[in-house]
Amino acid sequence: MPADTLMAKPHARPQPLAAPLVALRGIGKRFANVVANESIDLELRAGEVHVLLGENGAGKSTLVALLSGLLQPDAGQIIVDGSPMRILSPGAALALGIGTVFQHVMLSPALTVAENLLLGQGWWRRPARAALDQAVGAIARDFGLNVDLDAVTGELSLGEQQQVEIIRGLLRQTRLLIFDESTSMLTPQGIEELGALMRRLVERGLAIVFITHKLDEARRFGDRITVLRLGRKVGEISSERLEALDDASAHQEIVSLMFETIKATGEAVVGKERKRVAMSGKPLLELRDITVTGQSGSTGIEAISLSVWPGEVLGIAGIDGNGQKLIAEAIAGQRRLDSGKITFGGIAIDNLDVGARRKLGIRYLTDDRLSEGSVAAFAVSANLLLKEIGKEPFWSRGFTRTAVIDVHANAQVKEFDVRTPSIRTPIGKLSGGNIQKALLARELFGDARLVIFSKPTYGLDYNNIVTSRRRIAEVGARGIAVILISTDLEEILALSDRIAVMSRGRIAGILENTGDARLAVGGLMVGGALEHG
């Protein structure tokens, strides 16, 4: 059997522990020309909480998708119980004993807990409620879970719903349970409870993969930590080593693994040529203690104070979803403030609408190019003027002047190198990079004084990333103030003069982008609590 041949060559590393339940060997996955995973080796053992750490885009989610049967690897093998397996569907993963608790709970909110747990059985069967009561009772006793089977799922708290998902996994004889950023939406107390539960689960012989952005969680709940970066595994900290390290040095070691420059691919990692911005004068934009409540479960922002000077590039770093987008929307005028004050060029702009702020020179390039930035079905020419509808010279007394609009569109398309078959092509048919160029053209049109870029290179290919970054640098060099929101630390480091770091809706710190900013910013991103130095 091929499996035996494979196992006949044991790994060079001495392994006193039992054979891994699931092992990944040289796993690779590409999307178009983006490498999501490359030659990743991973061993997942019963009795161990294996933490996967990494920034946004490090390849964690892809790895989970491969394990749970949502995606297929392009290279490498997934070995379950010593035999190479192809996990072709989520159903196949479940059959192998691999279950996943996703960040967003996958239960039907209108059904009761019992009904949710009984879903997925053959439709011809009578729901086996009595057997379910018994099985859940046993699991609840074993693992100290407490769940009301007759409660309507939507009325439970998020933590309770996660417990239901875990029980569902245990009912299906799960042996490997993956927690995909399960703590990101929980309260601190909920996080503690989940950590304790993971401990009890591994004590009963399960293997756990725990994905998180928070260093302290990784350290407290994990037995072994693997750090991913740009799709590659850059380091593993074994349980013995983890125990031997004290808090500070563990923190330092992980942060350097996650953020240290390791590549020499020739990309602009060196850091930008820093110009001294005249910060002595009055700042162009000033946020004072602004607070905006988040909507439906997303993080709000609290007590944000920032200043940006003309010609300065202020980077806002942070893991995705820590309130960065709300700052952009508050400045652009798309969100009302709960409290606080925004001044721009000396004028209080809190009560101005989006159009008035644009007239003052505030421009916001959203990261949501298709659903917020453009109207997919409209022509490129119309999208280039979406924020100028009704203005001279493109409209005269309210009537559209197609000829003027076309001249403008042709000029913009040429200047910003938007590759489109025609200016009449619906913008939704263009590639992400070209839509981005068109939106950039729109935001820079007229007298821009402050441009907010939200994740400007997200989802673009290499060439477009380079072009976009060059544009952003040029904008700053023209004396326009720039706020650059990005989850990509390299981008922030390459372009910013100063860097503000967001964590849980607050600014964890604002630093000068000097040579050693990398680790300090990285440390703030993954949890200000353990900050050192």
Binding site: A332, Q334, E372, A377, F378, L386, I389, W395
Partner: protein, 364 residues
């Protein structure tokens, strides 16, 4: 959610041909005329099953609806209110608002026009009477759309449901008004007082066609120009195609939504006035021509284009006028016209779907 997406597709379909070369026009014609021919064949088969010679039926429809001068005049006269309804629907649909409350808005407009015109006739010159009644009808239509408009604009309540509910109330209220408030004491049948023929909308060029046709044409051409060639129209289309992008671009989405409802319902209320002041002269209790249900498919057949809608409204008028005669002559229910229209819709949608699949296949 669903509305926006569906409408987005419609707009995409409207805009798509412009992006293509000259063969686009022929392509569109084929996609539009083909289904109609196919529908005629299928409904012909249905007629055969009913024991009626389809050729006889179609011949009577054409003769009575198109080829006799009286029939043609009747057909064209009917276009007036239908065009106004179509104009109101096009404004709403292109702005992503599903105003399905047509019948309520139409009937209330009609009843108020029917009640006010004879009452004002003593006090004002005829031209002003017509104008005042028409304006009153439009305002009533607007008022009847206000609740769904505000709910949609400020609370995101789905207007499909609220406008349907309001139309339910509106048709009932119209009946109540006819039977209780505006009842003509001189007749035994419950109806409003009848406007003398001389006081109605003026006839055109010595025919039976009245000025309602001109109002309808003016409205639909105006709407077409507004939606396609003005800043205001582009703002409405932006809100309809992608409200998130509209808010991002700084458009007052809620206010524009209320305006769309007002424009749409105002035109439809006016349609009620034109029907009463030009054709009926009064409103009988329980009268409901249900133009909304008939015109909604027509504006979709026209791909929400005003000029194309004129052609489809004409076709429908001929079919329905001719169909009424043919029903009596050949013994087929009047509703068979609707069967034919429904068949055209279904086949058109199927062909459209197949065409998009094919185009997507070619593109990739």
């Amino acid at each position: 959610m669903n509305t926006g997406e569906a409408d987005g597709n419609v707009i995409a379909a409207v805009d798509a041909p412009t992006a293509e070369d000259g063969s686009g026009v022929i392509h569109i014609l084929l996609l539009t005329v083909g289904p109609i021919v196919l529908a005629l064949v299928i409904s012909g088969a249905l007629l055969l099953i009913l024991g009626v010679n389809p050729l006889t039926y179609y011949a009577v429809v054409l003769e009575r609806g198109l080829f006799t001068s009286l029939g043609l005049e009747q057909s064209i006269t009917r276009m007036g209110p239908l065009l106004l309804v179509a104009a109101g629907l096009i404004v709403a649909f292109r702005a992503g608002i599903w105003n399905l409350g047509v019948d309520g808005q139409f009937l209330l407009g009609a009843v108020l026009a029917a009640a006010s015109a004879p009452a004002l006739a003593h006090a004002l010159p005829p031209a002003l009477v017509l104008l005042a009644s028409a304006i009153l009808a439009a305002i009533v239509g607007v008022v009847w759309s206000l609740l769904p408009a505000l709910l949609r604009a400020y609370h995101g309540v789905n207007e499909i449901i609220t406008t349907l509910m309001m139309t339910f109330l509106g048709t009932s209220l119209a009946n109540v008004l006819v039977k209780l408030m505006f009842l003509d004491p001189a007749t035994t049948v419950p109806q409003t007082r009848t406007l003398p023929v001389d006081d109605r909308l003026p006839r055109l060029f010595g025919t039976t066609i009245n000025a309602g046709l001109l109002i309808g044409l003016l409205a639909i051409v105006g709407v077409q120009i507004m939606m396609a060639h003005t800043a205001f129209g582009l703002k409405l289309r932006t809100v309809g195609a992608n409200p998130v992008a509209a808010a991002h671009a700084g458009l007052p989405v809620a206010w524009l939504t209320v305006l769309v409802f007002a424009l749409s319902a105002g035109l439809i209320g006016l349609a009620g006035a034109v029907e009463v002041l030009g054709i009926q002269g009064n409103v009988r209790a329980d009268w409901n021509p249900a133009y909304g249900l008939a015109v909604i498919p027509l504006v979709f057949l026209a791909r929400l284009n005003g000029y194309a809608a004129i052609a489809f409204v004409f076709l429908f008028s001929v079919l329905s006028i001719g169909g009424e005669s043919a029903a009596r002559r050949v013994g087929v229910p009047t509703f068979f016209t609707l069967v034919l229209i429904a068949l055209i819709m279904i086949i058109l949608a199927t062909v459209e779907y197949a065409d998009q699949r094919a185009r997507a296949g070619r593109a990739s």
